[in-house]
Symmetry: C2
Amino acid sequence: MILTVTLNTALDITYRVGALRPHTSHRVSEVTERAGGKGLNVARVLAGLGHEVTVTGFAGGATGREVRERLTAVPGVIDALVPVTGPTRRTVAVVDDRTGDTTQLNEPGPTVSPAEWSAFQEAYDTLLASASAVALCGSLPPGVPVGAYAGLVRSARAAGVPVLLDTSGEALRRGVAARPDVLKPNAGELAELTGSHEPSRATQDARRRGARAVVASLGEGGLLAVTPEGRWRAAPPARLRGNPTGAGDAVVAGLLSGLIEGLAWPDRLARATALGAASVVAPVAGEFDRGTYEELRDRVAVTGEATAA
Amino acid sequence: MILTVTLNTALDITYRVGALRPHTSHRVSEVTERAGGKGLNVARVLAGLGHEVTVTGFAGGATGREVRERLTAVPGVIDALVPVTGPTRRTVAVVDDRTGDTTQLNEPGPTVSPAEWSAFQEAYDTLLASASAVALCGSLPPGVPVGAYAGLVRSARAAGVPVLLDTSGEALRRGVAARPDVLKPNAGELAELTGSHEPSRATQDARRRGARAVVASLGEGGLLAVTPEGRWRAAPPARLRGNPTGAGDAVVAGLLSGLIEGLAWPDRLARATALGAASVVAPVAGEFDRGTYEELRDRVAVTGEATAA
């Protein structure tokens, strides 16, 4: 199975309001809820592609129970979340019906105790034994050491399991130094890590910091990959309108799926690009439009050159 | 015991953010949660005054479980909420640290089925048998007939239990016609009911519509009472700064408490006014500052005249 790690899972709540006006009272016309956090989105896309996926990380409190109840409804995803005393965070997205714009409110998440962090590490090591690949995704909840991902990358490498890292800030800086197989930053994370806003230079710099391969997701600019086998750019044939939240998670799912199927990099990148675009068309993060995916898969332009063997 | 009815209970969530900017993403710095809904606030104040209180209404889903868990932590309040399939609503108050202003997002609440509404009415009739007074508080969740409060007022009167009504809109219009013992509108509800923005005229009009007594809460204008025993105005000695949310619920608690203790109207109004002011000073709805209450109780100015017997 593929393992995805979401240390800071979330109950994602979306509110529709007529128009958001600060310092007034609003009647919410529609409420939707889902199990959220980047690794959970990745898992849903992988399950949609037919892979067996196990999710781990933390879940606690009433919101954690809701997240777990919602996960059991997703076929192909196995829940191996580790209990934590503090409540799983909520994220609230307020969609303004008039403009379509979204205002986001993100709770910080539960404070994880040292004992809970140790319990997670044990569970993770056990799960690695049956994993074909692992994705480490998203922010760290309070209490988890900032070097957490570095340790989890090292454990995966020691177990011989390919590991992909998708996080930001100091957790990314520490994590990349532990030499993950794939790093998947977006443009902002890449610039923060390297200090460079020039994607080509920044991607190479990120690789020098320890990642075996770096695949940067550049929004409308598509994907830029720098790997030991070569450098490529991949872009969808046309810009698609929709909700870009979760597009990066669909890209991660495509990269992992291609990796365990042994696809060559250009094919992995085409799959990841098509999935990212097909997730923009789907209404919620963690889903993708299958028709769009199948149509785009063969039409993604992948350019670049392989390194001479 | 005193019975309070909250058909649309809520999990009240408060978020602190640095500054609320629409269409951007915010990290919430502090999350607080409480069991909410007007009747639950009334119950907490009554319990704080030493009364035995039972709360009923609906609770459902994960949010309903949270509301009930939080209620068990309040000494003196007995939980007689009736289960409902749909989830209890959340309300989210976003407090802007820079300005102190609050932006409110209110979910509509669960859709109550006809069978659930019947189950509630049965439970209510049973509870009335041991109630010394009942307060009917707040909005109706979807599915509950708009004439609901009228029926609940009639049941209370048939059982010989004094009944206070505190609601708004069409539920108020229908409810007052069923002749509650006390109606407690605020200025906006009173104007909506009667079409008059002149409090003295509107309060008399509301009484003519069926209420035995009307006590209007006019914010800084204090209370205006029109009763069979006379007309009074009650006002605190000074304006207090703080959070006015829940002040009306503290007033309701004061009126009910005075009613079952057999206090004369001027004393009831003094108590209710002091409680309203003492709740403004307390940080959250459903609490009051005991020192402020005890200090103000004897200093509230009650003016008016009793009707000659």
